[in-house]
Amino acid sequence: MKMVHAVIRPELLEEVKRSLEKEGFYGLTVYDVRGRGRQDSFSWKIRGNVYKIDLLPKLKIEIVVEDEQAHRVAEIIQSAASTGEIGDGKIFITHVEEAIRIRTGERGPEAVK
């Protein structure tokens, strides 16, 4: 199996979820992250100290799927999450050796069906 990690703009989560659902990818895990990429950063001061915001709010999605589905999932995300502007984010694919469904103890691809 593969884990598809995607860092996206938070406002596009609904869009991405909907696109994934349409092709039957339902299970996923998301969390808030902050990211730095090529985007402009903001710097300013408060009460005498210098601050810089170069970390902007993003969302990270993790989806585990069977090997052969990983590229399709990545494509779906890429097209749903792209606005063409800097800061759209990245997708990474990594290898997963084992998956277990906690409820039943099922293992392997069964666990993420």
């Binding site: 989560l13 869009e15 300013w44 408060i46 915001i53 709010p57 606005t83 502007e85 800061g87």
Partner: protein, 406 residues
Amino acid sequence: MVDAGDTAWVLVSAALVMLMTPGLGFFYAGLSRRKNVVAVLMQCFIAVATISVIWALWGYSLAFGPSRGGFIGGLEWFGLAGVGGEPNPDYAATIPHSTYMLFQAMFAIITPALIVGAFAERVRFGPFLLFLVLWSTLVYAPIAHWVWGVGGWLRSLGALDFAGGTVVHISSGVSALVAAMVIGRRIGYGSFAMEPSSPTLVILGAGLLWFGWFGFNGGSALASGGLASNAFMVTHLAASAAALAWMVAGWIHKGKPSSIGAASGAVAGLVAITPASGFVGPQAALVIGGLAGILCYAGVNLRALLGVDDSLDVWGVHGVGGTWGAIATGIFADASINPAGANGLLLGNPSLLGVQLIGVAATWAYAGLMTFIIVKLVDRLVGLRVKPMEEMIGLDITQHGEYVVV
């Protein structure tokens, strides 16, 4: 002669009304997306500072100074010249003139702050300040003069607005609708989920608004005693009935009783009772509040159907609620509660309702038109809307360089 008890009550009321604007900030911040929480809070907070200064300079004089033809006050009281510790018996005979001015200042502050909800999450801060100053001067001050100023044409006509249903709520609600239409929808409106950042902040805001509203309406008696107590009582009952009504409407309609619904309902009830609070009793208050909850709930849903992105539903709550309150005053007013008032439709006096409708119509027309002109003007001059990329990142970081960690 200054009465210590009356002055204590109106000073406290002024403090309570002042707290409403930060309260409104929390209410609106909780309804906004997380990335715009600071921006909304800041717009409300800075409204306090900005309007206070212009109110002292020219606003109070334009609204309450010697009338120029019933339309606007003169600049005789510029910089609060002559506004001191002695009462001005034209407005309130037992409290210092400065107390009356302060109490009115707090109304002048919250009114434009209410409009913030209409174009939340998408306007630049500098141009917003310009809008604030223009709107307060060109819309608020004249309407306040019409309704409350000695010689104001609506006051002379006999229109009743105990605590600002027309002056505060209709004017801001209608302006909100117009501003939202002119400025346009947020990016992704209708396609992204736009999740309220925090029901906790919404409840905090609603709690502070409710608390402050006792001063808003109760203080409008401009004295301590039976009338203030009546206004306080009906305010509380209308808010309660409306909170329940909106909650139940949403529960039936959408399956869950939401805290944001209950809070919005409370505000709707507070809005609707505002003009009536010195003229009706508790039974009428329950009816006015209950209907306010349902009407405003419908207003919000109607607004959504129309596709107008009045982001935090200022029109649905303040426009609809304020209009209903002005009409309800014409229906339920009871001169036995306040001899300075009049009887309404139910007590056999349909003419009051007519006068109330004139007031409503005039305010809708004037506030709507002027807001259209002001928004267009500010947009032409300095550009009101942020860049799309800034809107995506959020106003907190892009406008203020701040963000919410916790």
